[in-house]
Symmetry: C2
Subunit: 187 residues, 2 copies
């Protein structure tokens, strides 16, 4: 009975995130999205004061989805071995979409709040990974270098996806490479 349900704010944001991932921040226009959703811009300007407000809403939705959700689940099962936890985190990260990262990063060139949000997201990821490596036995300097490296490898997917992508065995080698030199006695 609700086959042609009216749109809500969340529907516009969802469409915005989709457009952001596939066509970049230039696609976040009321005109384009309205046609895409099959409505007029009257709907857009009912839900949002202007495009800037819409942009802020889309950005906030991205930030929530980019960090809070996946990394919260990563913290839960910090059980026994940190290496296996890291391996699980890497497997999950390397098999999930990454297009939005690029769009938000480059969005920062024309929308300052996007640059701030992207930096905040990556800072949180960096601190989390650094602490994992220190708890694993690395000293602070080595842990930060490895966190940088692992996070870069994750983000590198959007640059190198078409050139080379790490398969399951390579991801295992990667984790082994990053966790060696600090737990010879622990194995």
């Amino acid at each position: 009975m609700e086959q042609a349900r009216k749109l809500q704010k969340a529907d516009w944001i969802k469409a915005g995130l989709k457009a952001l991932g596939t066509r970049g921040s230039a696609a976040l226009k009321a005109d384009i999205l309205a046609r895409q959703l099959g409505v007029s811009r009257g709907s857009f300007y009912w839900h949002f004061a202007d495009v800037a407000a819409f942009h802020r809403a889309v950005l906030a939705a991205w930030e929530e989805a980019a960090v809070d959700r996946p990394y919260a689940s990563a913290m839960v099962k910090s059980s026994d071995d940190l290496t296996t936890n890291l391996r699980a985190l890497v497997d999950r990260a390397f098999t999930s979409p990454v297009e939005l990262e690029l769009a938000v990063l480059s969005w920062g060139k024309t929308f300052a709040e996007a640059a701030v949000a992207a930096e905040r997201v990556n800072a949180r990821r960096f601190e989390l990974l650094s602490s994992m490596f220190t708890r694993q036995g690395q000293d602070s300097k080595a842990a930060r270098m490895r966190a940088y490296l692992l996070l870069s490898a994750y983000l590198g997917r959007m640059h190198l996806g078409a050139v080379h992508s790490l398969d399951d065995a390579e991801r295992g080698d990667l984790v082994a490479l990053l966790t060696n030199g600090a737990q010879e006695a622990g194995r």
Copy 2:
């Protein structure tokens, strides 16, 4: 006597590359660049048939500067030790600007030729780094994983520059980490 020299095609392309790096591909408009250069759009349309032609020219200039120049100089001095060569390449790469990478990659969302060029550039970099690691003694699989990792670390600068950047010591640790396990007997 040539204080107010007239513009040439190369001047527009140079301004285009600068705008691309600082404000993204959205800044590559005849209107904006003309105001920025202190001339009218009449000049633009004398040098270029349309904006698409200008975009292609800017992209070609980027590709030439991104690969042909730095990597050609890297191949020249492939002298004795590959580890020291790699270290020199890493030092040079990690102390040169990287903003254009992001701009070109995200440009690919709205300009297909940019995506093709970016992939071609990264493919060439990847093959070059892979061959360096294989010549250093790594097997093919490990070499490709390390090439992916190193290239990602380079590209990661534009994402993580504000969060963390690798100093001289960390770059040394990075090269050591990537080249170990294959030359214990060689040292």
